[in-house]
């Protein structure tokens, strides 16, 4: 099914997409989810997003800081670390390579206009 396929595509690249949301500066969970939805990647539920953020933090690719808000609950802000930036560049390039290979193959198979 199309929805299932999209969700498995996303699984393979979600960590990179989350990192890419931090290249211009820090952000927090809800804002990252909104940015990805705005980019046309669909709604990313908190149940999917936070385990990814956790893993990225454990791997030292992002660092986080909780800040209390004047009104309402506080937010945990994430920012890219040096290794996170390098990881994003290297893995992003690998994804690009994969994407190109898929596109070339699909064109060869005659599915492209």
């Amino acid at each position: 099914m199309a929805a299932d396929r999209r969700s498995s595509w996303l699984k393979g690249v979600l960590d990179l997409l989350v990192l890419s949301c931090l290249t211009d500066g820090e952000s927090y969970g809800y804002e990252i989810a909104k940015a990805l939805a705005g980019a046309g990647l669909g709604e990313i539920k908190g149940g999917t997003l936070y385990p990814v953020l956790n893993r990225l933090e454990e791997a030292g690719l992002v660092e986080a800081e909780f800040r209390a808000a004047e009104r309402g609950p506080g937010r945990r802000y994430y920012r890219l670390t040096g290794p996170g930036r390098e990881y994003l560049a290297a893995e992003g390039a690998a994804w690009e390579g994969f994407h190109r290979a898929v596109r070339t193959q699909l064109h060869a198979g005659g599915t492209a206009p």
Binding site: K11, Y30, K45, G47, N54, R55, A69, G72, R75
Partner: protein, 239 residues
């Protein structure tokens, strides 16, 4: 489930998985903040608390990442013994990831971060399937494998027992992989004797295979009926 009850369950499950108290508090504050912005209910946003806790605790391997630290073990038991052995092995931290093509339980355990698991078996024929899933999923049960008419469900014990749901002991992966009950051994012996007799009597292997297949199908059907009969009117059977 209220938001407080959800976070209580989540905290209990994280605690049982050995997540430090400070990190639990921080995570809960962050997630509550997220809900304040989305306006969604916790279960809708994060899924069942026990499953979410297992993923947050870093227990689930990242997709595509090598799973080097985890122990793997595959085993099986007969239908008279499977639930007892699942309970024993679940208490030792083994999580059933799937049932393979020959009906063996494919298990995984992460040393140092193992959760104790509880299991239940239900008959999930096409007719019952939707109803069983509808009843069990809100209670945190996740379908982890199917074999013939049986569906096997798992749930971290911390979902109901809190910190008391951590594995009592984590012995090394057993070398044994087959756990037959006495009834299972008798049934196997009878079946083997019948099959051998049929083979000798009927000669061509085709006949024997048909006989074996029919016997097997009848046994399965009888078993499924026995399972559903006492409370077959609606509720899933006892696990």
């Amino acid at each position: 489930m209220t938001t407080d009850a959800y976070f209580e369950e989540l905290a209990g499950a994280l605690r049982a998985a050995g997540v430090p108290e400070e990190q639990i508090g921080r995570t809960a504050a962050e997630l509550r903040g997220h809900l304040a912005e989305t306006g969604t209910a916790p279960e809708e946003e994060f899924g069942p608390a026990a499953r979410f806790a297992a993923r947050l605790g870093g227990l689930a391997p990242a997709p595509g990442e090598p799973d080097g630290a985890a122990e793997h073990w595959t085993w099986t038991a007969d239908v008279f013994n499977d639930r007892r052995m699942l309970a024993v092995h679940g208490d030792q931290g083994w999580e059933v990831e799937s049932l393979d093509a020959v009906g063996r339980f494919v298990c995984r355990r992460v040393p140092g971060a193992a959760l104790a698991w509880e299991y239940r078996r239900e008959v999930i024929t096409d007719r019952r399937r939707a109803r069983v899933l509808e009843e069990l999923e809100p209670e945190g049960w996740e379908l982890c494998g199917e074999w013939l008419t049986y569906g096997y469900f798992k749930r971290p014990k911390s979902a109901t027992a809190g910190p008391a749901g951590a594995p009592a002991s984590v012995p090394a992966p057993p070398a044994k992989w087959l756990f037959l009950s006495r009834r299972g051994k008798v049934a196997l012996a009878v079946w083997a004797a019948l099959a051998a007799t049929a083979f000798v009597a009927l000669g061509p292997p085709g006949y024997a295979m048909v006989l074996m297949g029919v016997g097997w199908a009848v046994a399965t059907a009888v078993m499924a009926r026995r399972e559903t009969a006492p409370d077959g009117a609606g509720t899933p059977g006892r696990s």
